[in-house]
Amino acid sequence: MASTTPRFIGLTNYVNMVLDKSFSLVVQNSLKITFVYTVMINIFSLFLSILIYKVGTKFGNLIKTIIYFPQLLSMVVVGFLWRIMFNYNYGPINSLLSALGVSHDLLPQWLGDVNLVIPSVSVALVWLVAGYYAIVYFAGLINIPHMYYEVAAIEGATPWKELIHVTLPFLAPSITISTVLLTVESLSVFAVPAAMTDGGGPGRYGTTMALWAYNTYYSNFQYGKAIAISVVLGLVAILLAFVEMKILLNREDNVV
């Protein structure tokens, strides 16, 4: 592929990228995945970590051991597993639905449905990532001095007030780091949708920006355009991480 010498063509690759009819669809898909990571997974893993903290060491350790496990699997394996789970004809999810009495015509197409493919991929991603961040948050929780909870108890704080006034302020540094890392990770999502949807289908509705760059490089051999996509992806990641850090660090200063 390096047989021809590169020629300087200005911004042509970037123009080609923006003019591609998939561009806005792929960007939207990536933004949805970023939302799932930074908001849904973030809140869900925080919620899990608080529950683990409440149930005590023995039971908590068992739960931690189980929910961390998906993180040790390859994204390709995770994608394969969930592709089978969501299979329309023989998949366990649809078999469960028919066992519950859903008629065959009403069974969702999941990965074949343009509206359901990103939600389905998101389920697999939550399954993959939430356990890891629950443990990260748990590490922050056990470092909160216990006396603050005792004071809150004496003051008669409800669990909600305890969360707002004790837990969250102390967790602020963990929240900052996790949010930034989740954002970066969300933009790198590519192997899970690739393995789940056979390379990003149906009709690019399951393609993220990272997967688009990969397909442009390997399936279409448009190296210049692939690199243009990847550069934009990197810039977006740095920009988002920078903005989040600015906002969250400011909040940290205000609360603590």
């Binding site: 189980i66 597993l81 990260v136 108890a153 970066v184 192997a191 990969y214 992806l233 990197g234 920078f242």
Partner: protein, 281 residues
């Protein structure tokens, strides 16, 4: 007041346990059943994923996978690249962190800040430019080239973790050692590195699983079929997911087995490793 609170929690407790158990089941069920189904025939898998009827169970799918993707060859490549990458990462990462902690001037602080910033760049932003660079260095299609790429991706996190922990070692210890005539090398090898064993463990676990499970990097750096790693070989079953579920499941189980066995043996170190990394982070 306290009694009232206790009552309050007693009401919530079974609920808390319940939610966690349900989520743990959601995590465990696909994996456990994928394992069970990997011994069934395609027809049996598609008839019922949740059936425990193992009448036709066999290792046929595993045998086919081992020969189809030449599992042994892939395993050898994986182990070679994993060991080389981790050795380079640990050696360079700990040395860089040692320099940053000992020297600690403004230049070092800038380099450290740059390292942390690099953690925020997804690999997809630069992975496609790697091959021309590796070719120019005559490192394309080699274990060393691929290991160097994996190491450079792991170094920012390794330096970040090592620096965080080395800063907690009191300077007086190394100062006293210098007065006693101990060289910097010996301080690094005999004082710092033994204390850093937890961090080394964390780096090995976090980056080791990353390298083992990675799809993209070795696909870009290695084009020679005999040197490809295990995950790209497994990914070759992508198009057969429609039909050969037995092969897809068996290959997934095979490639995950080494990490899973290590996890079952050393689960405490795995969880402690992330916890330690997270606290410093």
């Amino acid at each position: 007041m306290k009694q009232l609170r206790k009552k309050h929690w007693k009401k919530i407790r079974p609920f808390t346990h319940g939610i966690l158990l349900v989520y743990a089941a959601i995590v465990a069920v696909p994996i456990v059943f994928a394992f069970i189904n990997s011994f069934k025939t395609v027809k049996d898998i598609q008839q019922s994923f949740f059936s425990l009827n193992l009448g036709n169970a066999s290792l046929k799918a595993y045998e086919s996978v081992v020969s189809l993707i030449r599992f042994g060859e892939g395993l050898r490549n994986n182990i070679t690249i994993l060991v080389m990458s981790l050795l380079i990462t640990i050696a360079l990462g700990s040395l860089a962190a040692f320099a940053m902690v000992i020297v600690n001037n403004s230049l070092m602080k800038k380099i450290y800040f740059l390292m942390v910033l690099i953690i925020c760049v997804p690999i997809h932003a630069f992975v496609y430019q790697l091959l021309p660079i590796l070719k120019r260095l005559h490192l394309a299609n080699t274990y060393l080239g691929t290991s160097l790429v994996f190491s450079s991706l792991s170094l920012p996190i390794a330096i970040f973790l090592y620096t965080g922990f080395m800063r907690t070692i009191p300077r007086e210890i190394s100062e006293a050692a210098v007065i006693d005539g101990c060289s910097l090398w010996r301080i690094y090898l005999w004082i710092y590195m033994p204390i850093m064993s937890t961090v080394t463990g964390t780096v090995v676990i976090l980056r080791g699983t990353y390298i083992w499970n990675n799809l993209l990097i070795s696909m870009v750096t290695i084009t020679d079929a005999s040197k490809t790693m295990l995950i790209p070989r497994t990914y070759a079953f992508n198009s057969s997911t429609y039909t050969r579920w037995d092969l897809v499941l068996a290959s997934s189980m095979l490639v995950s087995a080494p990490v899973t066995i290590l996890y079952i043996l050393l689960q405490k170190s795995f969880i402690d490793g992330i916890t330690a990394g997270a606290v410093k982070g």
